[in-house]
């Protein structure tokens, strides 16, 4: 067993991952499990049963104060005034250019208290940006509480029945993108019906000191049903099948929210927010390029950074791609000119010097069966 390089941060579950024989990799400054039994096994377990992920590396930034709502409204693409207490939504953390500082989930903990869950790789950047941007909002302060939360994600069709016996929180009564506080395995938690896999599932916020207890309890409760620990590898293939964007791959500071085809996370009725002018202009006049789903026609796998071509002309870039374990298709996402975004359009991908044909397909690739 290799030691964790000292420069890497550990989640509170590091010892558990090593004891389970996970393959560990550096990710966003953390020593993280990329797989336990294997990406395909874990991926298919989440689609057919459930998988438990340690996502404690994610960042938690809280905004508190009488003007907290105004502060969130300024930095977020979405309309936080629509959030009831106990409700969350997906949003972009905006640049003035209409692009992404990051993507995030915004939780309304109280009328004047919001929790932003952000990508691990962006915590420092986001926090610096948010602190700067909330100043004009008045009475609002941003706090980086990332080290004070451990976060578990139990994802899959059996997530609810595995978790319910461990908690008094009524999970069946919890709607998608709502959350509640309550005990899980005897410790204080916040449970939200959210996730990054395209399946039903829950994320559980806990104190770092309680992380092992809750992790063990869920795995034990789910063992008979086939619940397995799942790593970052499966998290990536699952989110791609569900066509959820990955920061740094599919979205970043050069892609606008509308180019990323995420118009549904823009609160168009809000007064003003960072990047609003750009997004309103693009909404009125249309974007020149947009993200699309693609499926390979030729036998090949498109990967992040591969060029998209039409004849000899470079027309775009692949942002994510893999051979997915559940659909068993070679899929990906790419930015292409707006006149090449129609499903059925044929494009070619430069796969390490060889041209391979692909076709534009509608997103998402995978949608879970509704029960």
């Amino acid at each position: 067993m290799t030691e964790t390089p000292s420069s890497l941060k550990k989640t509170p579950l590091n010892a558990r991952h090593r004891a389970l024989g996970a393959r560990m990799v550096p990710f966003a400054g953390f020593d993280m499990p990329v797989e336990y039994s294997g990406v395909s096994d874990e991926h298919n377990a989440v689609r057919t049963c459930a998988g438990l992920f340690d996502v404690s590396h994610m960042g938690e930034i809280e905004i508190v104060g009488a003007d907290a709502l105004a502060a969130v409204q300024r930095i977020s693409s979405n309309d936080a005034s629509k959030l009831a207490l106990g409700q969350a939504h997906y949003a972009a953390l905006m640049t003035p250019q209409g692009t992404f500082v990051d993507d995030m989930l915004v939780y309304r903990l109280a009328a004047d208290h919001f929790l932003l869950v952000v990508n691990a790789s962006n915590i420092e950047k986001d926090f610096a940006w948010i602190r700067e941007q909330v100043k004009p909002a008045g009475d609002a302060v941003a706090v980086n509480n990332s080290a004070r939360y451990a976060l578990l994600a139990l994802q899959g069709p059996l997530a609810r029945e595995v978790l319910q016996p461990l908690t008094g929180v009524d999970l069946a009564g919890m709607k998608y993108y709502w959350f509640a506080t309550g005990e899980v395995a005897g410790v204080k938690t916040t449970v939200s019906r959210t996730g990054y896999t395209g399946e039903d599932g829950f994320e559980v916020f806990i104190l770092p000191a309680d992380a092992e207890r809750v992790w063990d309890a869920i795995l034990q409760a789910g063992a008979g049903a086939g619940v397995v620990p799942a790593g970052l590898g499966a998290r990536d293939t699952l989110r791609l099948e569900a066509s959820m964007r990955l920061y740094g791959n599919d979205i970043d500071e050069t892609t606008t929210v509308l180019e990323a085809d995420l118009g549904w996370i823009v609160g168009w009725k809000k007064d003003d927010f960072l990047g609003a002018a750009v997004l309103r202009e693009q909404k009125a006049n249309g974007v020149t390029r947009k993200i699309v789903g693609l499926e390979m026609i030729d036998r090949a796998i498109a990967r992040h950074g591969y060029g998209v071509y039409e004849g000899d002309r470079a027309i775009g870039t692949v942002t994510s791609g893999t051979q997915t374990p559940f659909l068993k298709k070679s899929i990906g996402m790419a930015y292409v000119p707006i006149d090449r975004t129609e499903p059925g359009t044929e494009i070619t991908i430069d796969v390490r010097g060889r041209r391979a044909r692909a076709r534009v397909v509608p997103l998402p690739f995978y949608k879970r069966p509704r029960s």
Binding site: R23, V34, E35, G38, V39, S40, G233, D236, T237, R299, A300, I301, R303, T322, Q323, P325, S330, R352
Partner: protein
């Protein structure tokens, strides 16, 4: 752990040498590092390969890697059944041969590792 019937490269390929031909695959260590193999690309029969040169591609869910020829020669056979079931590389790495090469320079064998030497590399 590593069969004694073949030779190995530091790049984690194996080659079984018999009758002037070499049968090539990748090691158990290599498949573990790659994770779930989902795609294989091999050269056409008749292609000349040089020792140490890229002769194909192997892709796991997460990443692309290159396959290096352990010895020089001409490709006489390609395991098309394996390209249809790439996961066999994970389940049976030392049985899952990829290509057979008619060796043009059998003396290259002396540059390869035996199973004990390779076991020292693969950790």
């Amino acid at each position: 752990m590593y069969p004694a019937d073949r030779k190995y490269t530091k790049d984690h390929e194996w080659v079984i040498i018999a009758g002037g031909e070499g049968k090539v695959g990748i090691t158990d260590y290599a498949q573990k590092q790659l994770g779930d193999v989902v795609f294989l690309e091999f050269p056409d029969v008749g292609r000349q390969v040089k020792q140490g040169e890229v002769f194909g591609t192997i892709e796991s869910v997460k990443a692309v890697s290159e396959l290096f020829a352990p010895m020089s020669g001409t490709v006489t056979s390609v395991n098309t059944a394996l390209t249809e079931k790439p996961e066999t590389v994970n389940s049976d790495p030392h049985g899952a041969w990829m290509v057979v090469v008619k060796l043009s320079n059998p003396g290259e064998e002396s540059e390869l590792l035996n199973h004990e030497q390779y076991a020292g590399v693969a950790q």
